[in-house]
Protein backbone atom coordinates (compact mmCIF):
# COMPACT_ATOMS: atom_id res chain seq x y z
CA UNK A 1 0.00 0.00 0.00
CA UNK A 2 1.32 3.36 -0.93
CA UNK A 3 -0.20 6.79 -0.88
CA UNK A 4 1.41 7.42 -4.26
CA UNK A 5 -1.73 6.03 -5.90
CA UNK A 6 -3.59 9.10 -4.79
CA UNK A 7 -1.84 11.73 -6.84
CA UNK A 8 -3.53 14.58 -5.03
CA UNK A 9 -1.20 17.14 -3.51
CA UNK A 10 -2.74 19.31 -0.83
CA UNK A 11 -1.71 22.92 -0.32
CA UNK A 12 -0.34 23.33 3.19
CA UNK A 13 -1.20 24.80 5.69
CA UNK A 14 -4.75 23.53 5.30
CA UNK A 15 -7.61 26.02 5.69
CA UNK A 16 -9.78 25.72 8.76
CA UNK A 17 -13.41 26.90 8.61
CA UNK A 18 -13.09 29.14 11.72
CA UNK A 19 -10.47 30.20 14.26
CA UNK A 20 -11.44 27.34 16.59
CA UNK A 21 -12.58 24.47 14.30
CA UNK A 22 -10.28 21.91 12.65
CA UNK A 23 -9.73 21.72 8.88
CA UNK A 24 -12.19 19.25 7.33
CA UNK A 25 -9.33 17.23 5.82
CA UNK A 26 -7.94 15.98 9.17
CA UNK A 27 -10.46 13.22 9.79
CA UNK A 28 -10.28 12.04 6.16
CA UNK A 29 -6.49 12.00 6.15
CA UNK A 30 -6.25 10.09 9.43
CA UNK A 31 -8.72 7.60 8.06
CA UNK A 32 -7.59 7.07 4.50
CA UNK A 33 -4.34 8.88 3.80
CA UNK A 34 -2.11 8.88 6.88
CA UNK A 35 0.96 9.94 4.88
CA UNK A 36 -0.31 12.68 2.58
CA UNK A 37 1.51 14.63 -0.11
CA UNK A 38 1.50 18.37 0.48
CA UNK A 39 2.86 21.53 -1.11
CA UNK A 40 4.42 24.07 1.27
CA UNK A 41 4.14 27.87 0.91
CA UNK A 42 7.58 27.81 -0.78
CA UNK A 43 6.22 25.45 -3.49
CA UNK A 44 8.38 22.57 -2.21
CA UNK A 45 6.77 19.18 -1.63
CA UNK A 46 6.60 17.40 1.70
CA UNK A 47 4.47 14.81 3.47
CA UNK A 48 1.92 15.38 6.21
CA UNK A 49 1.20 12.89 8.98
CA UNK A 50 -1.93 13.11 11.12
CA UNK A 51 -2.29 9.87 13.13
CA UNK A 52 -1.37 9.91 16.83
CA UNK A 53 0.92 6.86 16.68
CA UNK A 54 2.75 8.07 13.56
CA UNK A 55 3.30 11.60 14.88
CA UNK A 56 4.48 10.29 18.24
CA UNK A 57 6.86 7.80 16.53
CA UNK A 58 8.47 10.39 14.24
CA UNK A 59 8.83 13.06 16.93
CA UNK A 60 10.36 10.55 19.36
CA UNK A 61 12.86 9.19 16.85
CA UNK A 62 16.24 10.71 17.78
CA UNK A 63 17.57 10.23 14.22
CA UNK A 64 15.31 12.90 12.81
CA UNK A 65 15.70 16.58 13.57
CA UNK A 66 13.85 19.67 12.52
CA UNK A 67 16.95 20.85 10.73
CA UNK A 68 15.74 21.89 7.30
CA UNK A 69 19.05 23.53 6.42
CA UNK A 70 20.10 20.07 5.10
CA UNK A 71 20.52 19.78 1.37
CA UNK A 72 17.43 18.25 -0.17
CA UNK A 73 15.14 19.32 2.63
CA UNK A 74 11.99 21.22 1.72
CA UNK A 75 11.92 24.95 2.32
CA UNK A 76 8.90 26.18 4.19
CA UNK A 77 8.48 29.82 3.32
CA UNK A 78 8.84 32.08 0.36
CA UNK A 79 11.24 34.30 2.27
CA UNK A 80 14.79 33.69 1.09
CA UNK A 81 16.33 34.00 4.54
CA UNK A 82 13.85 31.40 5.60
CA UNK A 83 11.87 30.65 8.68
CA UNK A 84 13.06 29.66 12.10
CA UNK A 85 13.44 26.12 10.78
CA UNK A 86 16.05 26.97 8.14
CA UNK A 87 18.43 28.87 10.36
CA UNK A 88 21.84 27.28 9.78
CA UNK A 89 23.23 28.49 13.08
CA UNK A 90 20.34 27.03 15.06
CA UNK A 91 20.76 23.82 13.09
CA UNK A 92 24.25 23.39 14.49
CA UNK A 93 22.65 23.02 17.87
CA UNK A 94 19.72 20.87 16.86
CA UNK A 95 21.28 17.45 16.81
CA UNK A 96 23.65 15.20 18.65
CA UNK A 97 25.79 15.67 21.68
CA UNK A 98 26.03 19.42 21.58
CA UNK A 99 22.28 19.77 21.49
CA UNK A 100 21.99 17.42 24.44
CA UNK A 101 24.49 19.44 26.46
CA UNK A 102 22.94 22.75 25.60
CA UNK A 103 19.45 21.48 26.37
CA UNK A 104 20.56 20.19 29.77
CA UNK A 105 21.95 23.61 30.49
CA UNK A 106 18.85 25.52 29.45
CA UNK A 107 16.70 22.97 31.26
CA UNK A 108 18.04 24.26 34.58
CA UNK A 109 15.87 27.32 34.08
CA UNK A 110 12.75 25.39 33.22
CA UNK A 111 12.49 22.69 35.86
CA UNK A 112 9.26 22.49 37.82
CA UNK A 113 11.13 23.76 40.91
CA UNK A 114 12.37 26.88 39.10
CA UNK A 115 9.03 27.55 37.50
CA UNK A 116 7.17 27.08 40.79
CA UNK A 117 9.48 29.69 42.27
CA UNK A 118 8.40 32.08 39.47
CA UNK A 119 4.70 31.31 39.84
CA UNK A 120 4.08 34.10 42.36
CA UNK A 121 5.71 36.62 40.10
CA UNK A 122 3.65 35.40 37.11
CA UNK A 123 0.52 35.75 39.22
CA UNK A 124 1.47 39.31 40.15
CA UNK A 125 2.01 40.15 36.47
CA UNK A 126 -1.43 38.70 35.62
CA UNK A 127 -3.05 40.80 38.36
CA UNK A 128 -1.28 43.96 37.14
CA UNK A 129 -2.46 43.44 33.58
CA UNK A 130 -6.01 42.56 34.65
CA UNK A 131 -6.13 45.63 36.97
CA UNK A 132 -5.36 47.83 33.99
CA UNK A 133 -7.93 46.06 31.85
CA UNK A 134 -10.63 46.43 34.50
CA UNK A 135 -9.78 50.12 34.97
CA UNK A 136 -10.36 50.75 31.25
CA UNK A 137 -13.69 48.93 31.44
CA UNK A 138 -15.44 46.53 29.09
CA UNK A 139 -15.34 45.59 26.31
CA UNK A 140 -11.67 44.66 26.41
CA UNK A 141 -9.40 42.63 24.17
CA UNK A 142 -7.90 39.80 26.21
CA UNK A 143 -5.16 39.33 23.62
CA UNK A 144 -3.64 42.81 23.64
CA UNK A 145 -4.39 43.50 27.31
CA UNK A 146 -3.20 40.19 28.77
CA UNK A 147 -2.24 37.32 26.47
CA UNK A 148 0.33 39.20 24.38
CA UNK A 149 2.27 41.05 27.12
CA UNK A 150 2.35 38.41 29.87
CA UNK A 151 4.65 35.77 28.31
CA UNK A 152 7.10 38.40 27.08
CA UNK A 153 7.28 39.86 30.59
CA UNK A 154 8.08 36.41 31.90
CA UNK A 155 10.79 35.82 29.28
CA UNK A 156 12.25 39.24 29.99
CA UNK A 157 12.57 38.21 33.63
CA UNK A 158 14.30 34.93 32.70
CA UNK A 159 16.74 36.75 30.41
CA UNK A 160 17.33 39.53 32.95
CA UNK A 161 15.94 42.20 30.61
CA UNK A 162 14.77 45.51 32.06
CA UNK A 163 11.05 46.19 32.48
CA UNK A 164 11.29 49.21 30.15
CA UNK A 165 12.52 47.08 27.26
CA UNK A 166 9.73 44.49 27.32
CA UNK A 167 7.64 46.11 24.57
CA UNK A 168 10.55 46.23 22.17
CA UNK A 169 11.07 42.52 22.76
CA UNK A 170 7.44 41.84 21.92
CA UNK A 171 7.74 43.65 18.59
CA UNK A 172 10.86 41.82 17.49
CA UNK A 173 9.43 38.48 18.45
CA UNK A 174 6.32 39.13 16.42
CA UNK A 175 8.30 40.05 13.31
CA UNK A 176 10.74 37.15 13.48
CA UNK A 177 8.10 34.41 13.52
CA UNK A 178 6.81 35.47 10.15
CA UNK A 179 5.55 33.24 7.39
CA UNK A 180 4.38 35.73 4.78
CA UNK A 181 2.91 38.54 6.84
CA UNK A 182 6.02 40.70 6.82
CA UNK A 183 8.42 41.36 3.94
CA UNK A 184 11.88 39.88 4.13
CA UNK A 185 13.18 43.42 4.64
CA UNK A 186 11.03 43.90 7.74
CA UNK A 187 12.04 40.52 9.13
CA UNK A 188 15.73 41.31 8.55
CA UNK A 189 15.36 44.71 10.19
CA UNK A 190 13.73 43.25 13.30
CA UNK A 191 16.35 40.54 13.43
CA UNK A 192 19.19 43.08 13.18
CA UNK A 193 17.74 45.38 15.82
CA UNK A 194 17.16 42.45 18.13
CA UNK A 195 20.67 41.05 17.70
CA UNK A 196 22.12 44.52 18.24
CA UNK A 197 20.08 44.96 21.41
CA UNK A 198 21.03 41.51 22.68
CA UNK A 199 24.74 42.09 22.10
CA UNK A 200 24.50 45.19 24.26
CA UNK A 201 22.51 43.29 26.84
CA UNK A 202 25.04 40.43 26.93
CA UNK A 203 27.88 42.94 27.34
CA UNK A 204 26.04 44.42 30.31
CA UNK A 205 25.60 40.98 31.84
CA UNK A 206 29.29 40.23 31.35
CA UNK A 207 30.15 43.39 33.25
CA UNK A 208 27.50 42.85 35.90
CA UNK A 209 26.16 39.30 36.09
CA UNK A 210 22.78 38.76 37.71
CA UNK A 211 20.38 35.98 38.56
CA UNK A 212 19.24 35.17 35.05
CA UNK A 213 19.77 32.59 32.34
CA UNK A 214 22.29 34.58 30.28
CA UNK A 215 24.42 35.39 33.32
CA UNK A 216 24.41 31.69 34.13
CA UNK A 217 25.63 30.80 30.65
CA UNK A 218 28.32 33.49 30.87
CA UNK A 219 29.51 32.11 34.22
CA UNK A 220 29.64 28.60 32.70
CA UNK A 221 31.69 29.93 29.77
CA UNK A 222 34.11 31.51 32.24
CA UNK A 223 34.50 28.09 33.80
CA UNK A 224 35.56 26.57 30.51
CA UNK A 225 32.28 25.50 28.91
CA UNK A 226 32.20 26.03 25.16
CA UNK A 227 29.65 28.77 25.06
CA UNK A 228 30.49 31.56 22.66
CA UNK A 229 28.73 34.81 21.81
CA UNK A 230 26.82 33.10 19.01
CA UNK A 231 25.36 30.49 21.35
CA UNK A 232 24.37 33.18 23.85
CA UNK A 233 22.59 35.11 21.12
CA UNK A 234 20.86 32.06 19.73
CA UNK A 235 19.73 30.98 23.15
CA UNK A 236 18.15 34.34 23.93
CA UNK A 237 16.58 34.53 20.50
CA UNK A 238 15.38 30.94 20.64
CA UNK A 239 13.72 31.38 24.01
CA UNK A 240 11.90 34.48 22.85
CA UNK A 241 10.73 32.92 19.59
CA UNK A 242 9.76 29.64 21.23
CA UNK A 243 8.14 31.09 24.33
CA UNK A 244 6.41 34.31 23.44
CA UNK A 245 4.06 34.08 20.51
CA UNK A 246 3.24 30.43 21.20
CA UNK A 247 2.14 31.08 24.78
CA UNK A 248 0.42 34.37 23.94
CA UNK A 249 -1.59 32.70 21.23
CA UNK A 250 -2.41 29.78 23.48
CA UNK A 251 -3.77 32.09 26.21
CA UNK A 252 -5.98 33.78 23.62
CA UNK A 253 -7.15 30.47 22.19
CA UNK A 254 -7.73 29.02 25.65
CA UNK A 255 -10.06 31.88 26.50
CA UNK A 256 -11.73 31.68 23.09
CA UNK A 257 -12.37 27.95 23.56
CA UNK A 258 -13.61 28.23 27.14
CA UNK A 259 -15.89 31.20 26.49
CA UNK A 260 -17.26 30.15 23.09
CA UNK A 261 -19.32 27.55 24.92
CA UNK A 262 -19.90 29.34 28.20
CA UNK A 263 -20.90 26.13 30.01
CA UNK A 264 -17.18 25.34 30.04
CA UNK A 265 -16.37 28.59 31.80
CA UNK A 266 -19.20 28.08 34.28
CA UNK A 267 -17.98 24.59 35.05
CA UNK A 268 -14.57 26.02 35.94
CA UNK A 269 -16.03 28.85 38.03
CA UNK A 270 -17.89 26.18 40.01
CA UNK A 271 -14.94 23.80 40.17
CA UNK A 272 -11.64 25.71 40.04
CA UNK A 273 -9.75 22.53 40.94
CA UNK A 274 -10.25 21.53 37.29
CA UNK A 275 -7.84 24.22 36.11
CA UNK A 276 -4.93 21.83 35.61
CA UNK A 277 -6.82 19.25 33.57
CA UNK A 278 -8.72 21.99 31.72
CA UNK A 279 -5.43 23.54 30.58
CA UNK A 280 -4.26 20.15 29.27
CA UNK A 281 -7.55 19.73 27.44
CA UNK A 282 -7.37 23.13 25.74
CA UNK A 283 -3.81 22.27 24.70
CA UNK A 284 -5.07 19.00 23.21
CA UNK A 285 -8.20 20.49 21.66
CA UNK A 286 -6.52 23.45 19.96
CA UNK A 287 -7.32 23.03 16.27
CA UNK A 288 -5.62 26.27 15.27
CA UNK A 289 -2.18 25.17 16.42
CA UNK A 290 -0.38 26.35 13.33
CA UNK A 291 2.11 24.63 11.16
CA UNK A 292 3.14 21.54 13.08
CA UNK A 293 6.72 20.34 13.43
CA UNK A 294 8.89 19.50 10.43
CA UNK A 295 11.27 16.57 10.46
CA UNK A 296 13.95 15.79 7.90
CA UNK A 297 13.85 12.03 7.38
CA UNK A 298 17.47 10.96 7.05
CA UNK A 299 16.77 7.21 6.76
CA UNK A 300 13.83 5.37 5.23
CA UNK A 301 11.01 4.60 7.67
CA UNK A 302 7.58 3.00 7.54
CA UNK A 303 4.51 4.78 8.86
CA UNK A 304 1.04 3.18 8.86
CA UNK A 305 2.26 0.73 6.22
CA UNK A 306 3.62 3.43 3.93
CA UNK A 307 7.34 3.60 3.17
CA UNK A 308 8.73 7.09 3.56
CA UNK A 309 11.95 7.41 1.56
CA UNK A 310 15.14 8.82 2.98
CA UNK A 311 15.66 12.58 2.46
CA UNK A 312 11.94 13.37 2.65
CA UNK A 313 10.54 16.20 4.69
CA UNK A 314 7.65 15.31 6.96
CA UNK A 315 5.34 17.76 8.68
CA UNK A 316 3.96 16.32 11.90
CA UNK A 317 0.53 17.70 12.72
CA UNK A 318 0.30 17.32 16.48
CA UNK A 319 -3.08 19.05 16.46
CA UNK A 320 -4.53 16.49 14.02
CA UNK A 321 -2.98 13.66 16.06
CA UNK A 322 -4.57 15.11 19.21
CA UNK A 323 -8.00 14.54 17.63
CA UNK A 324 -7.27 10.90 16.74
CA UNK A 325 -10.21 8.74 17.93
CA UNK A 326 -7.86 5.79 18.29
CA UNK A 327 -5.87 7.65 20.96
CA UNK A 328 -8.58 9.69 22.71
CA UNK A 329 -12.14 8.76 23.59
CA UNK A 330 -14.63 11.41 22.49
CA UNK A 331 -11.70 13.08 20.72
CA UNK A 332 -13.91 15.76 19.18
CA UNK A 333 -15.34 16.86 22.50
CA UNK A 334 -13.75 19.10 25.11
CA UNK A 335 -13.68 17.12 28.34
CA UNK A 336 -12.35 19.46 31.01
CA UNK A 337 -11.52 16.67 33.48
CA UNK A 338 -9.91 14.32 30.92
CA UNK A 339 -7.21 12.18 32.50
CA UNK A 340 -4.74 11.02 31.43
CA UNK A 341 -4.27 13.41 28.55
CA UNK A 342 -1.11 12.45 26.65
CA UNK A 343 -1.53 15.10 23.92
CA UNK A 344 1.38 15.93 21.63
CA UNK A 345 1.09 19.71 21.65
CA UNK A 346 4.58 20.07 23.15
CA UNK A 347 6.03 17.34 20.95
CA UNK A 348 7.50 14.09 22.25
CA UNK A 349 10.90 12.59 22.92
CA UNK A 350 14.29 14.25 23.22
CA UNK A 351 13.20 17.42 21.44
CA UNK A 352 9.93 17.97 23.25
CA UNK A 353 9.37 21.54 24.38
CA UNK A 354 11.89 22.68 26.96
CA UNK A 355 9.53 25.37 28.22
CA UNK A 356 6.45 23.22 28.73
CA UNK A 357 6.37 23.51 32.53
CA UNK A 358 6.58 27.28 32.14
CA UNK A 359 3.87 27.36 29.48
CA UNK A 360 1.62 25.20 31.64
CA UNK A 361 2.20 27.40 34.67
CA UNK A 362 1.48 30.57 32.71
CA UNK A 363 -1.76 29.11 31.32
CA UNK A 364 -2.88 27.74 34.69
CA UNK A 365 -2.06 31.01 36.46
CA UNK A 366 -3.82 33.23 33.93
CA UNK A 367 -6.89 31.00 34.00
CA UNK A 368 -7.05 30.83 37.82
CA UNK A 369 -6.65 34.58 38.21
CA UNK A 370 -9.31 35.31 35.58
CA UNK A 371 -11.73 32.87 37.20
CA UNK A 372 -11.26 34.57 40.55
CA UNK A 373 -11.26 38.18 39.36
CA UNK A 374 -13.86 38.02 36.57
CA UNK A 375 -16.25 35.09 37.04
CA UNK A 376 -18.86 36.94 34.94
CA UNK A 377 -16.51 37.05 31.93
CA UNK A 378 -18.16 36.48 28.56
CA UNK A 379 -17.34 36.94 24.88
CA UNK A 380 -18.46 40.30 23.49
CA UNK A 381 -18.67 38.84 19.98
CA UNK A 382 -20.16 35.66 18.52
CA UNK A 383 -17.66 32.75 18.62
CA UNK A 384 -17.76 32.52 14.82
CA UNK A 385 -16.57 36.14 14.66
CA UNK A 386 -13.30 35.53 16.50
CA UNK A 387 -10.72 36.75 13.99
CA UNK A 388 -7.99 34.28 13.14
CA UNK A 389 -4.38 35.42 13.35
CA UNK A 390 -2.98 34.96 9.85
CA UNK A 391 0.43 34.43 8.39
CA UNK A 392 2.42 33.21 11.35
CA UNK A 393 3.95 29.81 12.04
CA UNK A 394 1.91 29.67 15.22
CA UNK A 395 -1.84 29.89 14.88
CA UNK A 396 -3.85 32.21 17.06
CA UNK A 397 -6.80 34.49 17.49
CA UNK A 398 -6.17 38.14 16.67
CA UNK A 399 -8.59 39.58 19.22
CA UNK A 400 -10.72 38.07 21.96
CA UNK A 401 -13.23 40.80 22.84
CA UNK A 402 -14.80 40.23 26.25
CA UNK A 403 -17.13 41.90 28.75
CA UNK A 404 -17.88 41.17 32.38
Amino acid sequence: MSTDSSEQVLDYPLRAPTAVDPPEEWAKLRQGCPVAHIRLPSGDKAMLITRYDDVRQVLSDPRFTRNLAEEGAARITTNEGGSVFENKDAAELSGGEQHEKWRRFIMRWFTVKRISAMQQSIETMAHQLIDKMIAKGPPADLVSDLAFPLPVWVIAEILGIAVDDRDKLAHWSNSMLTMTQFTQEEVDKAQMEFVHYLMGHIAKKRAEPGDDLLSDLIRAADQGEQINEKILLMTAQGILVAGHETTSNMIGKMMGMLLSDRRRWEQLVAEPSLVRSAVEEVLRFDANAGFGLPRFISEEIELSGTKVPSRSTIICSMAAANRDEKAFERADEMVLNRSPNPHLTFGAGAHSCVGQALARTELQTVLSVLLRRLPSLDLAVAPSELPRREGLLVGGIEKVLVRW
Binding site: F110, V112, P342
Partner: protein, 71 residues
Protein backbone atom coordinates in the same frame (compact mmCIF):
# COMPACT_ATOMS: atom_id res chain seq x y z
CA UNK B 1 -7.52 -4.45 41.71
CA UNK B 2 -4.13 -4.13 43.39
CA UNK B 3 -5.05 -6.07 46.49
CA UNK B 4 -1.90 -8.15 46.69
CA UNK B 5 0.52 -6.64 44.22
CA UNK B 6 2.45 -3.44 44.71
CA UNK B 7 3.06 -0.86 42.04
CA UNK B 8 6.71 -0.40 41.16
CA UNK B 9 8.02 2.68 39.37
CA UNK B 10 10.75 1.98 36.80
CA UNK B 11 12.42 4.84 34.97
CA UNK B 12 14.51 4.73 31.79
CA UNK B 13 16.81 7.66 32.47
CA UNK B 14 18.11 7.74 28.88
CA UNK B 15 14.61 8.50 27.66
CA UNK B 16 13.92 11.26 30.21
CA UNK B 17 13.69 14.63 28.44
CA UNK B 18 13.22 16.67 31.60
CA UNK B 19 9.76 17.98 30.75
CA UNK B 20 8.72 17.73 34.40
CA UNK B 21 5.23 16.43 33.72
CA UNK B 22 5.69 13.68 36.32
CA UNK B 23 6.68 16.25 38.96
CA UNK B 24 3.61 18.35 38.19
CA UNK B 25 1.28 15.34 38.26
CA UNK B 26 2.79 13.27 41.12
CA UNK B 27 5.09 15.51 43.20
CA UNK B 28 5.19 13.01 46.06
CA UNK B 29 6.73 10.36 43.83
CA UNK B 30 8.86 12.31 41.35
CA UNK B 31 11.31 15.19 41.51
CA UNK B 32 13.89 16.61 39.10
CA UNK B 33 17.62 17.15 39.31
CA UNK B 34 18.88 20.65 38.57
CA UNK B 35 19.23 19.72 34.92
CA UNK B 36 15.67 18.44 34.71
CA UNK B 37 16.35 14.70 34.77
CA UNK B 38 13.85 12.75 36.85
CA UNK B 39 14.46 11.61 40.43
CA UNK B 40 12.23 8.86 41.80
CA UNK B 41 11.40 9.75 45.41
CA UNK B 42 9.37 6.65 46.08
CA UNK B 43 9.81 3.63 43.80
CA UNK B 44 7.07 1.70 45.60
CA UNK B 45 4.50 4.38 46.37
CA UNK B 46 1.47 3.83 48.61
CA UNK B 47 -1.87 2.99 46.93
CA UNK B 48 -3.21 6.54 47.24
CA UNK B 49 -0.44 7.58 44.80
CA UNK B 50 -1.37 4.96 42.16
CA UNK B 51 -3.67 7.37 40.35
CA UNK B 52 -1.14 10.19 39.98
CA UNK B 53 1.68 7.72 39.19
CA UNK B 54 -0.36 6.08 36.40
CA UNK B 55 -1.18 9.50 35.01
CA UNK B 56 2.48 10.53 35.13
CA UNK B 57 3.50 7.39 33.23
CA UNK B 58 0.77 7.94 30.62
CA UNK B 59 1.65 11.57 29.91
CA UNK B 60 5.46 11.35 30.00
CA UNK B 61 6.56 12.84 26.66
CA UNK B 62 9.65 10.63 26.60
CA UNK B 63 7.74 7.45 27.53
CA UNK B 64 10.42 7.07 30.20
CA UNK B 65 8.22 5.81 33.06
CA UNK B 66 7.18 2.17 33.22
CA UNK B 67 5.04 0.61 35.91
CA UNK B 68 5.62 -2.91 37.12
CA UNK B 69 3.71 -4.96 39.64
CA UNK B 70 5.62 -6.70 42.39
CA UNK B 71 4.21 -9.32 44.70
Amino acid sequence: METNSKLKVIVDYDKCCGAGQCVMVAPKVFDQRDDGIVIVLDAEPPPEQYGPVREAAAVCPGAAIRLGESA
